[in-house]
């Protein structure tokens, strides 16, 4: 159906023509404090309830949900800007979802450490630092968007 056309009036038994998608988003976050192995932590919209979270996960992602607990995190209104007006950091709601059927979840390590660090003051460390600075000097201006120096003044 286009934007200008309207849907026919719905009566019980008619086929479902419209699709209702939720306007919510859920963000999976790494827990700040260690949680039990079957608990997953989400940041959700302030208007969502526990039932919404459960239905969202079960119907859209088919995740078996055992229990949902929510809390609202208040963020500060204390910071002031250059006009001395208070600047509010927005509040957010956190949901702790316990999975059923003995499933567990461990938040993955998204930023694994790569390369080994040399010890402080050693020769290798100074060399590494020098090479790093050289590479930085040779890099082209990032504001040119990858275009070479040939096309310029």
């Amino acid at each position: 159906m286009g934007i200008c056309e309207s849907y026919p009036i719905y009566q019980l038994g008619n086929p479902q023509l419209r699709i209702f998608r939720p306007t919510f988003n859920m963000t999976l976050v790494r827990p700040g404090k260690e949680q039990p192995p079957d608990t997953v932590q989400f940041r959700i919209s302030m208007e969502m309830t526990k039932c919404d979270v459960r239905n969202y996960l079960e119907k859209i992602y088919s995740v078996p949900v055992g229990a949902v607990r929510t809390r609202i995190q208040y963020c500060s209104n204390k910071k002031r800007n250059h006009l001395n007006q208070r600047v509010k950091r927005p509040d957010y709601k956190v949901a702790y979802v316990q999975l059923s059927k003995q499933q567990t979840f461990q938040f993955p390590d998204i930023f694994p450490e790569k390369g080994k660090k040399h010890e402080e003051g050693s020769v290798e460390e100074i060399q590494e630092k020098f090479m790093e600075d050289e590479r930085q000097r040779q890099k082209p201006d990032p504001r040119r968007g990858g275009v070479t120096e040939w096309f310029g003044l």
Binding site: V65, G66, A67, S100
Partner: protein
Amino acid sequence: MAACSRLPLQLFLSTQSSRVISSRKAETATAKHLYPPVLPSRTAKSKSAKRRVLLEFFDQLRGADPQEKIRALTRIQRMKYVIYPQTFALGADKWYQCYTKTAYLSGLPEKFKTSAEVNTDLGPVEQLQSVLGECAYSEIRSTVCNALLQENWYMKKGRTFLYREQEKFVAPFLANLVSGLVNSLVNKNPVLRQSSLDFDPQVNFYWVNGERMIPRGHRSGRIEPRRFQIDDKPHSQIRIPQQLPEFMPLEAEIPAEVPLIHLAPDYLPLFRRQYDNNISTGAKLKDPCQYGHTQFHLVPDKFHIDRLTKKNLADHSEVFQRANAIASLFAWTGAQAMYQGFWSEQDVSRPFTSQAVITDGKRFSFFCYQLNTLALSSLNNPDNPRKNVCWGTPTMCLYERLTDTDVLGWDDAVLKHLVQFLLNRPVS
């Protein structure tokens, strides 16, 4: 109120102050040895001084009456974790095992299994009949059937309020069943003649296990003991004047391990409150029936298997029953031990045993518990090797369907377990 009094504990216990007692002990020591013993100070602001005060307080408690001991240990109110035996928390049985130092073994103890192993060719009916006799077995079976049909067929009952079906339909059935079975089996088990059958008793227990660091406040950074309280109200219980025999020896090797959980109890979730620290077996201390025999618990409507299956929590019903049995029986056996004068610094010298049956009218599960130690975190006995044991069966259905005047799909194994539990008697 007495609980809020600021009098020191020592004054409450004896007329002599502990300073006098300890100086007298030092005098007797000098009589034997050349130099007085080197002891840490009593009044310094140090850990050793605090430990010395505590140890002297524990020594004073050793000679006191059980009533005085319980009063001294539960007088001061502080924030404590309240453990609910019937809980919605997922995975609660592992956490409760950790806090009560209980190992869980599936199946019943050897005592109840040996009769089955000896007569493997006989079914449960024949075993029951051989133990009880033909007419006693038929009498028991008709008692149970009558109790079932009375609530479901003979009495006309309409629908009741939300979440109150169990108390209208199943609680009277269980009351009739228990009293009928006790009366039928009095001839076979003479201890039931002196027993006391309580309905809606209040079983409470208060204990300390482990330590926590206070995260914030004027006492932040200091170590505090972790206190727990159980307030349980079983449907009914049988108390007897002598103690049931042990299921396994006190120092025996237990094949299962106690699960260790290093997370704070708040993650279960367990909540903290401050109120009276009660310890009670369901009757006062002077009651002659001081030991426990069997408890009967009812599964509330909220935790009925149909409701849990709809919420995608079918495996929580087994967890719920195990958690209920572990918490209730630990509280009951612990209270029985405290009534005899044992506590965490004076550990039990003999194991305390009790049994429990958890039912929702149709499905039954049976649990046995043996309390081997009360010293879960004690100064005198820091690495206590003993642990408590809980045995349990999976859920078994007593019948499949009820029609008018008839019970279909009868399962005799359930009846056999019930009778075995009630025939368990103390060694005379």
